[in-house]
Each structure stands twice: as C-alpha cells, then as structure tokens.
C-alpha cells in the first residue's frame, strides 16, 4: 500500500490539493461532530441559559439537568433496567446465535441454505410489524410489563443478524482442529464450547458489542410492552420528558448524552469490531 507514495511527486500543485482535501475533511468532521457537541454543551447549561442565547458559549456549567434525571425521572431504576435488558439480549444472542451459526456452518442439512437466505430476509422485516403478534403472545403469557418481554422481543429480532455475522467465522475455522478434538474424546458440544468458540472469539466480541447496543438503544419494545416505571429503560424513560404540556429540554438533552456515553465508550474502545460488524452484517 505504501508503494503509491514512493513516487516522486512535484511539490506545488499536489501540496495545494492535499491542503484542500484536509480542509474539506475538517469541515465535514465539524459537521459530523457539531450536533453531538451542541447536545453536550447545552445539557450543561441551566434551563434559563438554554433559552437565553443559543450561540452563547458555556459560561456557568451546571450538572442540574443530570441531577434532575435521577430526582425527577427515575433514571436510577431505568439505568439498571437498561443494563439488564442489554445483558439479557447479549446472553441470548451469543448462546442461541452461536449455537445456530455453528450448526449452519458445520452440520448443513437439506434446505439449510434456503433457511439462511430466509434469515437474511427476516432481518429486513420492519420490527414494528412483529410487535403486534409478539405483544399478543406476551400478553397471553402474562409477561407484559416485565423486562423479560422486552429482552425476548429484542433478542428475537437480533438473532438472524447474529447468525448471519457469526457463521463466516465458523466457516473459516479449519476442520482439522475440531476433528482432533473429537479424536481426543470431546463431544460435539465440547468441541463447540472448548475449541470453536475460543477460535471465533473476535466474531463473538463483534456480536456481543452489537447486541449490547441493540438492547441499550431499543425504543420500540419497551414503548410497546411496558407502562410501569419498574420495567422502563432509559430509552422510553426519555420520552416521558416530553409531555403534551411541557418539554423538559434541559433534562431531555442531559438524558440524551447520558444514554449515548456507554455506547460511545464501547464503540471507541472496540472500534475495530464495530466496523467489522458493519461489513459483515449486511
């Protein structure tokens, strides 16, 4: 890849060209970063300052909006609920999705290719379409207003994606290693748990990351399946700040930042896996 630059290049015009490229990219980056930066800065202003002058810089930063999240809007409970939902989705996705992807990869059966294509298609279905039947099922099972119903709803829609992303990882593993495991007396499940999973670890990290984000950011299922604060996560909790009478702008913006921070930290820490997920998931 470094061959391209080893060519001798004339200074003048190329230097200007590069400068323009950098300038355009910096402007684009500013446009990308701007809205989020605005959200962070505004969330640190008092409600009065928010309305005073939109272009004013942060003069007297305050955490009042963040405090109101916990005092007024049950964010302590909501945070725990969000964590529970995300971890639940990760657990189901990794365990069931891992087994299914491994099965598709190692034990193809008549029609398994067709089923895989079908899986990609279910991934294209709008989640709102499945909320109706899932709502009635959860209602019949008496699971409405519980975290379990939310976890199951998100996980059901997440599984096709997980299988689609994980299968290539298992496909890429050399059969010989697993056969050696079988010869050494491991059961097929043992081979899966002790050998295949360990070798496909990068894929599992990608899947766990994206499943966590799916659970953490989902609005549709909590909004549809719960009305009680006990089972309300951050996402649908945020919506309670915009009532018909009043929008609590300060709290809303602070809540938006609060909701974003975990996914942002995870995404930057595991950026490599996130981009890999983007490339494999489609």
């Amino acid at each position: 890849m470094s061959v391209a630059i080893s060519l001798p290049r004339p200074r003048g015009r190329a230097g200007w060209g590069r400068l323009i490229v950098v300038a355009v990219l910096i402007v684009a980056a500013a446009g990308t970063l701007g809205p989020f930066l605005w959200l962070v800065v505004s969330s640190l202003k008092s409600e009065a300052d928010i309305f005073a002058n939109p272009l004013a810089l942060l003069k007297s930063p305050t955490l009042a909006n963040y405090a109101s999240l916990f005092k007024q809007f049950h964010f302590a409970v909501a945070t725990l609920n969000s964590i529970a939902i995300s971890l639940g989705v990760v657990a189901i996705s990794v365990v069931l999705g891992g087994l299914a992807a491994y099965g598709f990869s190692r034990y193809p059966f008549a029609g398994s290719r067709l089923l895989l294509s079908g899986l990609l298609i279910t991934r294209m279905v709008t989640p709102a379409a499945l909320v109706v039947p899932l709502y009635l099922i959860m209602n019949a099972l008496g699971l409405l207003n519980s975290l379990i119903s939310i976890i199951l709803g998100i996980a059901v829609l997440n599984l096709p994606f997980v299988i689609w992303v994980l299968r290539p990882f298992f496909d890429a593993l050399p059969h010989e290693i697993e056969e050696a495991g079988l010869v050494d007396g491991l059961s097929p499940l043992g081979v899966f748990l002790r050998i295949a999973l360990r070798l496909a670890a990068p894929g599992l990290v990608t899947v766990a990351l994206l499943s966590f984000i799916a659970g953490w950011t989902d609005l549709l299922f909590p909004m549809s399946f719960t009305t009680t604060p006990d089972a309300t996560p951050l996402t649908s909790g945020l919506l309670q700040m915009q009532t018909g009478y009043k929008i609590y702008w300060g709290s809303l913006m602070a809540g938006g930042v609060y909701l974003t921070l975990p996914t942002l930290i995870l995404s930057f820490a595991l950026q490599k896996y996130l981009i890999q997920g983007m490339r494999l998931g489609y």
């Binding site: 470094s2 061959v3 391209a4 630059i5 060519l7 060209g17 590069r18 490229v21 990219l25 910096i26 684009a28 980056a29 990308t32 809205p35 989020f36 605005w38 959200l39 505004s42 928010i50 309305f51 939109p54 272009l55 294509s117 279910t122 991934r123 294209m124 279905v125 709008t126 989640p127 709102a128 379409a129 499945l130 909320v131 109706v132 039947p133 899932l134 009635l136 099922i137 059901v156 950011t217 609005l219 549709l220 549809s224 945020l238 919506l239 809303l252 913006m253 809540g255 938006g256 930042v257 974003t260 996914t263 942002l264 930057f268 950026q271 996130l274 981009i275 983007m278 490339r279 489609y282």
Partner: protein, 270 residues
C-alpha cells in the same frame, strides 16, 4: 419467528379492537379492503418512499465523497502527525453511528428548534423546521446518523484496491478526477451497489426512532412513515385487525426487498 408471523396472518383476517370488544370475529378481507382504500396508508407509503430515496441518495453521495478523500489522506500522509490526523478524523466520523438514534433525534430537535436552536439563530430566522419542513428535517437527522455506515464500507473498499493500479494511472498522466472516474469508481461499484441496496431496505423498514422522537409522524400525518403507521394503528387506535393487515403487507414487501438484495449481492460478487 414462524409462530408470530402465522398468528399475524390469521389475525389480519379478523376484526379485533379490544377497545370496542374483546371478541375477535372473522372479517374476511375487510382489513385489506380498508388498507387499499385508505388515504392514510397511501400517504404513509409515499412518505416512506420519498424518505428512503432522498436520505439514501444523500448518504451515498456524502459518504462516498468523504471516503475517497479520507482514503487519499491515509495513503499519502504516512508521517506520524498525518496518521494521528486520519485516526482522529475517522474517530469523529464514526461518532453519529455510535450515537443512539434517540439521542441523535434529540440533538436535531434542539438544533432546529425555533426558540433556542442555533440554526435559526445563525440564519436570523425563526423557522420551526420540524413543523414547516418536516420531511426534509427528518431526512437530515437520519442522513447525519447513517452516513458513517456508508463512509466506512466505501473506505474499506477503496483501500483494498491495489496501489499498483494507481501508479499505472499516474504514469499515464491521469488527474485526480480521472483517477476516481476511471479507476476507483468502477472497482468499488459492486460495493456501492450492495451498500445502497442495503441502506435502502434498512431505511425503508427501520426508520422509527428518529421520526417518533422528532415529529411523532406529524404535523398531522405528514411524516408518518410505514413502521410508525403500524405502531400507531396498534397502540393508539388499538385496531389489531388493521395493524395486522399492515404488518403482513410490510413483511411481504420486506421479503421481496430482501430477496432482491440477495440477488444483487450474488450478482455483484461474481
């Protein structure tokens, strides 16, 4: 997955409005007849199509342009500060993708607010963007969030092109535009096609959070995209029969789109 869909199909032939009666009764094709004749449904489909076409077009154009420039920088700047700059830039560009749709929607809702939003302050206007230009505003918010997805797929595709080919182009005296037009673009065209198709299907079926938080489908029903229409029919109008018929249509459309996406993938990989 099979059971929910099956029960959905059955329900779509029944009348079930828990608000009026808890009894479900067979309704034949009544739900589908409603769907075909309803202006609300027609409008929703139209809004969804426009939203998808415009936002995907913007995402592709901007994403591709930034990817080309970023790739140029990565290849040309190999010094330490140069690498730091490209790493910083790509970190910034991934940020909207890592931001939950709801948080992005809140940011845009406040940015475009007529009373305290900076956009109106800079322009010296007091336009209520989400009320006066609802669809355009929703498209901007969505394009901001999803552009990085396009950007990083294009970026990876461009970097996988053999550098020798650029060397040859330069020896032939190609300028930057010719390089892009006759070398880069044809080589990444398959990835461009698949990405655009995937984004279109995704935008068509998944747009919910952004619209729900910013406009709620309004003003009136001007931005009531299809997933939102299904949701409102279910939980606001509590008409499960109508909602199921809508959902069945959505699933059929998704299946057709998904199947054609698979076909495009297969065609572009050979």
């Amino acid at each position: 997955m099979v059971y929910p869909v099956a029960s959905l199909v059955i329900l779509s032939f029944q009348e079930y409005s828990p608000l009026r009666s808890t009894v479900t009764s067979f309704a034949g094709l009544a739900n589908y007849a409603w769907l075909v004749g309803s202006d609300l449904v027609h409008q929703s489909i139209w809004v969804t199509v426009v939203f998808t076409a415009v936002s995907v077009a913007i995402e592709m154009a901007v994403g591709l342009a930034i990817a080309v420039l970023l790739a140029k920088l990565v290849v040309e700047l190999r010094s330490r500060p140069g690498r730091l700059l490209t790493r910083l830039l790509s970190g910034i560009f991934i940020l909207p993708f890592a931001t939950p749709a709801i948080a992005g929607a809140i940011a845009w809702k406040t940015l475009l607010n007529p009373q305290f939003g900076p956009v109106d302050a800079i322009l010296h206007t007091d336009i209520a963007w989400f009320a006066q230009f609802p669809l355009a505003s929703v498209i901007v918010a969505d394009a901001w969030k999803m552009m990085p997805f396009v950007l990083f797929l294009m970026f990876a595709a461009i970097l996988s092109i053999e550098p020798e080919q650029y060397e040859a182009a330069r020896l032939d005296g190609a300028n930057a535009w010719q390089e892009f037009r006759y070398l880069t673009f044809p080589l990444i065209l398959p990835v461009v096609a698949v990405t655009a198709a995937f984004r279109a299907v995704d935008a068509f079926t998944k747009i919910f959070d952004t619209v729900f938080v910013t406009t709620g489908g309004g003003p009136a029903t001007d931005t009531q995209v299809f997933p939102l229409l299904i949701w409102r029919t279910t939980f606001d109008y509590l008409n499960f029969g109508h909602a199921s018929a809508l959902a069945v249509v959505a699933i059929i459309v998704s299946a057709l789109l998904g199947a054609s996406l698979l076909a495009i993938r297969r065609a572009s990989s050979t």
